[in-house]
């Protein structure tokens, strides 16, 4: 009896919170279903979950999403790579000098806190309605978390570790490769993860505002044509892509932080 309840507790400990999460999502779906079937919410504004599911299956089966997905992922990849490379290089250079840290850290932190999305109209004027303006916005927004965390990571390496490595004869390269990088890595990785999330948000967001293609563009287009069920199907699709990408990035992040 006690052994059995012990086993049950263990099972609950492990899966209990997952269970609640699943129940939460199920409850929302149920409310949604009831709203459309029983409570008379206008079907033009809120299609039923079932019709959304049918549209979703149709979108996947026809492979219609491919062109838009490609555009959005390309924008995301370019923006993230450029922000990562520029953010880590600039951050590392700044972290080498207390003076540069004093000048640039507050400046970047300040810029990071303003809503850069406000510059989107300007970016569209500069770079046009195509992917270039989305990429530029994604770079601008994700550069700051990357550069700030790189400054923090490389700027706060425990001094005694550096002194110890130097006393053992470490060359500049060895110091960088075997002391500074592993010491800074966890903080830098957190910044990269944040930068990735922000790039994804800003790119899909800006596609919904002014664009010619991409998943955000498709969603707005369907909304404007009042094709609500299909629009919701695309939203579900974007959510799945976002969850997948964020899970992958978090897994890489966790892997880099292992072994402490």
């Amino acid at each position: 009896m006690t052994a059995q309840s012990g086993a049950r507790r263990k099972w609950l400990d492990r899966y209990g919170s997952r269970l609640v999460q699943v129940a939460f999502v199920a409850a929302i779906l149920l409310l949604w279903h009831l709203a459309t079937t029983r409570w008379g919410v206008n079907k033009i504004l809120l299609p039923s979950p079932l019709s959304v599911w049918q549209q979703f299956v149709d979108v996947i089966r026809k492979g219609e999403f491919l062109a838009d997905l490609q555009i959005t992922l390309m924008e995301l990849a370019v923006a993230f790579v450029v922000a990562t490379v520029s953010g880590t290089v600039v951050g590392y250079v700044i972290s080498r000098s207390p003076y540069l840290i004093k000048v640039f850290e507050p400046l970047f932190a300040g810029i990071y806190s303003i809503p850069i999305i406000l510059f989107l109209p300007l970016y569209v004027l500069f770079f046009g309605l195509g992917p270039a303006s989305k990429i530029a916005l994604g770079i601008t927004m994700s550069f700051f978390p990357v550069v700030l965390s790189t400054i923090a990571g490389f700027g706060n390496v425990d001094r005694v570790l550096v002194t110890a490595a130097k006393s053992m004869g470490a060359s500049d390269w060895q110091l960088f490769r075997h002391v500074l990088v592993p010491a800074a890595l966890p903080v830098v990785l957190s910044g990269l993860r944040m930068g990735f999330t922000i790039a994804l948000l800003s790119i899909i967001g800006s596609e919904t505002i002014a664009s010619l293609a991409g998943l955000g563009h498709r969603i707005v287009n369907l909304a404007e044509n009042m094709d609500m069920a299909r629009m919701f199907a695309y939203i579900v699709f974007v959510i799945i892509i976002a969850v997948f990408l964020n899970t992958a990035v978090s897994a890489l992040d966790a892997r880099g932080k292992r072994q402490r």
Partner: protein, 286 residues
């Protein structure tokens, strides 16, 4: 070369050191015109009030700090920077790389020093056995107690096979009992290895128990006030710690120190203090 010179492992001549520029508000004279010869194979303790410059002197000896004036020679080589082939350091704080196992820490240290790859694993094993940690080679530093971490740091220094060890309050962060045991172990190691050791400490008992000679510092700007000799062969046993001679020498040290400690405490009422410690901590990595 004279006989005296060949017997000298480290020779310090008229070393003075200040932190900060002379016109800065935070300018601190840490060391004043200090000269000292460390004899080959001895354990020399540096003791003195906080902020007296004893750690600064140790860092100057090891080439981690370039003194404002004066010279340091290791054997017949002048010291201008770290000398990994002659000198290994052990620090007060945990200076093991936390992302590497104890074994990896030692391999990394040897790769910095330039030990051929084929020799590294053997040397690591021997050094870990010497400090009794061979079973913990695969552990990360965070999985070990403070005392074991300092043993591991000692093993890493030993694996470099330098003739000189510079130890900056290596047991300073440990509790009294762990400190005593590690002190005994160090004494045994010393009797076997004939290394030259310079050891900075705050503890009078530790100084008398470990040292062949104890250099007593004055308050800042520090210089060596007097050197006393502790004539007891290594390895020293715990019985030495309870002997009348031990207590007499400890009292003698205390007499030499306590005026300086008072002076130092009066100084530390001012905002600028203990700058010698900051040299190894403040600011981002260079």
């Amino acid at each position: 070369m004279t006989q005296a010179a060949t017997n000298t492992a480290i020779s310090v001549r008229n070393v003075s050191h200040s932190f900060g520029e002379a016109d800065e508000a935070r300018h601190v004279k840490a060391l004043l015109d200090t000269s000292l010869d460390v004899t080959r194979g001895e354990l020399l303790c540096l003791i003195g009030p906080s902020g007296c410059g004893k750690s600064t002197l140790l860092n100057v000896m090891g080439g981690l700090i370039a003194p404002t004036t004066g010279t340091v020679m290791v054997g017949d080589k002048p010291v201008h920077g770290p000398m990994p082939n002659d000198i290994a350091f052990i620090f007060q704080e945990n200076a093991l790389f936390p992302w590497s196992t104890i074994h990896e820490n030692m391999i990394l240290g040897m790769s910095f020093q330039g030990v051929p790859k084929a020799e590294r694993a053997d040397r690591a094993q021997r050094a870990l056995e010497a400090v009794g940690l061979d079973e913990f080679a695969g552990h990360y530093p965070s999985q070990l107690s403070g005392g074991m971490r300092q043993r591991a740091a000692l093993a890493r220094a030993l694996s470099l096979e330098t003739n000189i060890l510079l130890m900056d309050e290596p047991f300073g962060a440990l509790d009294e009992q762990t400190r005593m045991v590690l002190g005994e172990d160090l004494s045994v190691l010393l009797s076997r290895s004939k290394k030259t050791i310079v050891f900075v400490t705050h503890s009078l008992g530790e100084a008398v128990f470990l040292a062949d000679r104890v250099a007593v510092f004055s308050a800042r700007p520090g210089t060596i006030k007097e050197i006393i000799t502790v004539d007891e062969p290594h390895p020293r046993k715990s019985a030495f710690m309870t002997s009348a001679r031990f207590h007499q020498q400890r009292d003698q040290l205390y007499d030499l120190l306590h005026d300086e400690i008072r002076k130092s405490m009066a100084q530390s009422g001012k905002p600028k203090r203990a700058y010698e410690d900051q040299s190894s901590r403040a600011g981002p990595a260079a």
